[in-house]
């Protein structure tokens, strides 16, 4: 019996020739990522060492990454104090993959890791963030864990008691129509699979659509695999992965893709043809409440958000700028844009996208998570409606339990900004 990509990665990381689905392994961790919640990880880490007589020291500081993104700049003295505590720990232990609040090399963890070449095919990547699934886009096995589990990883260098997950093969075929992209594909898939349909499973993406998809789109797909309950999403590394790592992430070393065996044991195979896919919208208050944009077109929108680890990359901003160039955000609607990283912000400035967006009336904010998780920057008022390119629309998600959040692609968001209501970007005329 052959192995899936994730089986192969876990076998290697556990020092075994092969691992079966359901086997319990303790893989060595290649990269351990945290953000502001690193403050809690530090607490738990120090508690592990209490009474042991051992000096608390992470197993390998070069494999720890800490990126401030959830609350940048700090929205409260409490957050600022947490960030200060993390900085002190980073300095004390020589953690080099640290990205502070900066306009040049700061940004969202799920963009900072790929663009700096921290993630490589075949790695085991853990992060104290559920959207760590994103890094499967580079052929790594990447999944979210809690702060205490991260403290354990910092101490042992291993994730303990991991069950080798079953894999669902998602075969995607056809050419995405104009104004339809990776976000529409993953929203469609989450709607099909359901919010818990892939729990304890991995979504492994294949097919000609995926082979032609740039890494930015693959990051969008894998990012939202968790919204179907999946442990992770993964795109087996290929020529595009190597191109991305060489050209965009500055990786010089050899890249060794890990691919599935022809007789890998998939629990299920899904076939999806995207050639007639319509733009998709996830309606309040679950991500699997997905409908074609036409069925909710005309819904008034108070706030539009473009950004996040799902859709704050350069091609997302380019799409929004192309649609909004020479147009105006409708009165009665506000539009916030959050580039995913300082690097993307600079690229968007150079390409003129920031000017297009600002002249249209959008507010371009600093790189970071923005209002996605309802902490600061762009909270919603009572009864308001948001249309957002982020990844979650749970009740209360954007800071107000009486507000509603719809999720969509950058094209839908930008087209809707012009009309002030949910709009089908295919009807906006050639741009």
């Amino acid at each position: 019996m052959g192995m899936t990509v994730v089986q192969k990665i876990l076998a290697r990381a556990s020092g075994r020739g092969a691992v079966a689905v359901g086997a319990v392994v303790e893989p060595a961790v290649d990269l351990a990522m945290s953000h502001e919640n690193g403050a809690l990880v530090i607490n738990q880490f120090l508690e592990i060492y209490e009474g042991t007589g051992l000096a608390p020291a992470p197993w390998d500081p070069s494999r720890i990454a800490i990126i401030f993104d959830h609350r940048v700049p700090a929205e409260s003295s409490k957050t600022a104090t947490n960030q200060r505590k993390v900085r002190a720990f980073v300095a004390a232990h020589g953690i080099t993959k640290f990205h502070d609040i900066r306009g040049d090399r700061g940004g969202i963890c799920h963009q900072i890791l790929p663009e700096n070449g921290y993630v490589r095919p075949g790695q085991v990547v853990v992060g104290t963030d559920s959207h760590t699934t994103s890094h499967g886009a580079l052929g790594a096995f990447a999944f979210g864990i809690g702060a205490t589990e991260m403290a354990s990883v910092w101490a042992l260098g291993r994730a303990v008691n991991i069950e080798v997950p079953a894999t669902i093969s998602v075969q995607v075929h056809g050419t995405l129509p104009p104004m339809v992209g990776p976000k529409d594909l993953i929203l469609h898939l989450v709607g099909e699979i359901g919010a818990a349909g892939a729990t304890f499973r991995v979504l492994e993406f294949h097919g000609d659509t995926i082979r032609r998809m740039p890494t930015s789109g693959r990051l969008t797909l894998c990012n939202m695999a968790v919204e179907a309950g999946a442990t992770s999403g993964i795109v087996p590394a290929d020529a595009e992965t190597v191109r991305y790592l060489r050209e965009e992430a500055g990786v010089q070393e050899a890249v060794e893709p890990v691919v599935a065996d022809a007789d890998a044991p998939y629990e299920r195979v899904m076939d999806v043809d995207v050639s007639a896919l319509a733009p998709q919208v996830a309606c309040p208050h679950t991500v699997d409440n997905v409908r074609p944009v036409t069925s909710v077109a005309g819904t008034h929108v108070d706030q539009i958000v473009i950004g996040s680890c799902t859709n704050g990359r350069l091609d997302d901003l380019a799409t929004a700028a192309r649609i909004l160039r020479g147009r105006k955000v409708a009165d009665g609607t506000r539009m916030l844009v959050f580039p995913a990283s300082g690097r993307i912000y600079q690229q968007a400035l150079a390409a003129g996208y920031v000017a297009d967006l600002v002249q249209a009336g959008a507010v371009v904010m600093n790189a970071g998570c923005g209002p996605c998780l309802g902490v600061h920057e762009g909270a919603l008022g009572d009864g308001e409606v948001a249309l957002s390119t982020t990844n979650r629309n749970f009740k209360g998600r954007m800071g107000n339990a009486s507000a509603e959040v719809y999720l969509c692609s950058p094209a839908v968001a930008a087209a809707s900004a012009v009309t002030g209501a949910i709009a089908d970007p295919r009807e906006g005329g050639e741009r």
Binding site: N37, I48, L54, K78, E163, A196, G374, K395
Partner: protein, 168 residues
Amino acid sequence: MSASNVVLALGDDVSTDVIYPGRFMATVLPGETPLYAFADHAEFNTRLKAGAVPRGSAIVAGKNFGCGSSREQAVSTLKGHELVIVAEGFGRIFLQNAINLGLRLVEAPGVQASVGDELAIGLVEVVNLTTGKRYPTRPLPAARQAIVDAGGLIPYTRRRLLETAGRR
């Protein structure tokens, strides 16, 4: 077998944003997070803070309880009140966090209960004493039992560290 009074009955897909809203995430200490449990459910949150919910009380929910974020506060906030969560299923990260921190979760497919019902929670089944219905429970994945037996992930990891240090 333990008896629990149902203090909250919820549906499917109760997210960590509902259990512990993001705006309180700067609060991380287990001694403080219990203040914000179900903060947007004002009536229940008020009762929790007033100490009007006895320890060992049960929240009953449908599928995918704890879906969403990896925030551990969603577990420590419930652990602080020593609640038991009986649900048809749990989100993966929430389940692992609960095991790591010692929050009691019971997976009982099909479970149905209303606020005020009495549950008898055993190893193999949950009995709703009010309705008389019985629901078999699904055992924890065996791999996780070692962490539960150690009293949580912190003592488990501490022991592993000491074993490693002892071999050097």
